[in-house]
Symmetry: C2
Subunit: 346 residues, 2 copies
């Protein structure tokens, strides 16, 4: 019933708007696109016709001639399980969505899990269906940045890219949280409460975020004992293993900076099982400030907060700026400050 009325073949075209308004298609088009250079009287007539018919421009037709899609792709390489267990994912998308909506652009979400997906995504991006790309969570082997670059598609990366030469590449723009600075904040805090044997559990070291956090730790403990460093993987299990390791290697440790809240929850568990009180015997600082974890460990987790949503927004803004002004040189990358949130664990 309603289907026959609005669905099917019945969508009004510019042609019909023009006819109803008694003007040419060109004039109607001008009005629809801002109305510059059209006398007020005509403009109004067209606007009335648009309203009356419920006209909505056909994007496909428009794209065909303008070569502008008003859509950007968000590519997420999924193996980073972190994206799915933490609320990172949602927060990023929310930030992106908000910024995109403000500019009346759409978001096409592309999740990659395996080789075939990357191929599919490459094909899709080659199709010219989007005007730009937001890339996340790259691991070394990800072919997407290369593809995107080859296609000449503007893009912005989330997180500092880690492949060789990335830093120095001219038009490479990324947005990252200040992982290194955050780690320093954590260690500094532990020191300020009098801790002296500060250990750390890192993330997987093939991710720049992990490396940067470890570097931050080392910045303040340049001649620290390597025994105080355990390599984790951003999972709770990793936290458990890391903490057990540390405890057996350096039973005298009095603090630990854990590179993610999830791992920290595992670490705290191990500490308690080992009879160490937190924070009295061992102080713990996490990283991420994931609400659903940090606020719910026992004791509540002192951690480093990062502005995930802000990161998404910023990436989007940078990308849109590049789109609107393709001539301009690449904007410089941005590092978003992190800060310490003190709760009970340290």
């Amino acid at each position: 019933m309603t289907e026959s009325e609005a669905g099917a073949g019945g969508r009004p075209t510019l042609e019909s708007v023009a006819e109803l308004a008694g003007v040419s298609r060109a004039t109607a088009s001008r009005v629809v696109n801002g109305g510059a250079g059209v006398r007020a009287a005509l403009r109004e007539k067209v606007e009335r016709a648009v309203a009356e018919l419920g006209y909505v421009p056909n994007l496909a037709a428009r794209t065909l001639v303008t070569r502008r899609n008003r859509a950007i792709a968000v590519v997420i390489a999924e193996p980073e399980a972190r994206f799915f267990s933490d609320p990172f994912f949602a927060q990023h998308l929310r930030g992106i969505s908000r910024e995109l909506a403000a500019a009346d652009n759409q978001m096409v979400l592309l999740l990659a899990e395996d080789e075939r997906d990357h191929e599919r995504i490459g094909r899709y991006l080659s199709g010219g269906h989007v005007d730009g790309v937001l890339l996340f969570s790259l691991h070394r082997s990800d072919p997407t940045p290369e593809t995107v670059h080859r296609l000449g598609l503007p893009f912005v990366i989330g997180g500092r890219p880690g492949w060789p030469g990335a830093e120095s590449a001219r038009d490479l723009v990324y947005v990252d949280n200040d992982n290194r600075g955050g780690a320093r904040l954590a260690v500094q805090h532990l020191r300020s409460i009098g801790r002296e044997r500060i250990a750390t559990i890192t993330g997987p070291l093939d991710q720049t975020s992990s490396v940067d956090r470890l570097d931050g730790y080392r910045d303040l403990l340049p001649d620290g004992d390597e025994d105080l460093i355990a390599v984790g993987d951003f999972t709770a299990d990793g936290g458990i293993r890391g903490m057990s390791e540390l405890l057996s290697r350096r039973p005298d440790l009095d603090a630990v900076f854990v590179a993610s809240d999830v791992m920290a929850s595992g670490a705290i568990r191990v500490l308690r099982a080992a009879g160490r009180r937190v924070p009295e015997d061992v102080a713990v600082v996490g990283f991420d400030d994931v609400e659903s974890i940090a606020a719910w460990t026992e004791p509540r987790l002192t951690t480093i907060r990062q502005e995930i949503e802000e990161m998404g927004r910023l990436m989007t803004r940078l990308l849109l700026r590049r789109l609107n002004d393709p001539g301009a040189s690449a904007p410089s990358s941005v590092i978003i400050p992190t800060h310490l949130v003190v709760r009970e664990s340290a």
Copy 2:
């Protein structure tokens, strides 16, 4: 450098493929679209040309004539904070993405936060840019289902819709977890371990999932005491408030079915603070089986598991089926079974 080669105006068209292969545009098109009715010799020539030029069809042009976008919209009404704090969101999207990728369709993600967003989304959907819609987490006032229906766009809803008359609407298709059955499972389990004064903390009762879970609880406790029911809101704080309430009203309770894991983590905290041992004094069963919570409460949470990703996949499959066969009557809605995961809390 590479930009001039592949970017800019240089993308090969069907025309150029046809020319290189020495056939007409029509034949090239036939090959690109499956090659039915083209002799093998010609087909091969075209395929070679496609490969050589790196031809990728221009979707905008294709859409313009076929009226098929090979894209579907995923609309998520965001105020359901649950979608962002729990990993639900990501899991759903993953399921959808997988199924969509298999059918070579794209996902356009639309997040709605306020009135203006709904308007924007309505406009976008009217634009005919997507072939179908996946709707999530509807609250009563959400205008989107109405819009989508008016546009004659095929759609599938995630979660049982709650507005009046929804159930009986002809072409309304939804996919939901068996909330009611899951709740029954929970209560049944509590009974089987000998509990007799079983309370519950519900979700917000304007959501069908909450209502259904409460109904399941009541199914097994038809003449239960209303004092044993506290209304929560799916947040940890809600769990705290609910549990405190229950404890003061019925200090003799020996079990509680909490309608979400997040709330359960709050509830357990309250119980422990009140000196009740879990599960010895009070057994707790949650709902959702959110890994990052259920496996990390102390004690680990016994809960009802739902297959979120499967739900996303199923929704997508149903939608695609409708798209491919618009004539067929609406498929019937699907309820995905939930099951009990026994850990330590009950």
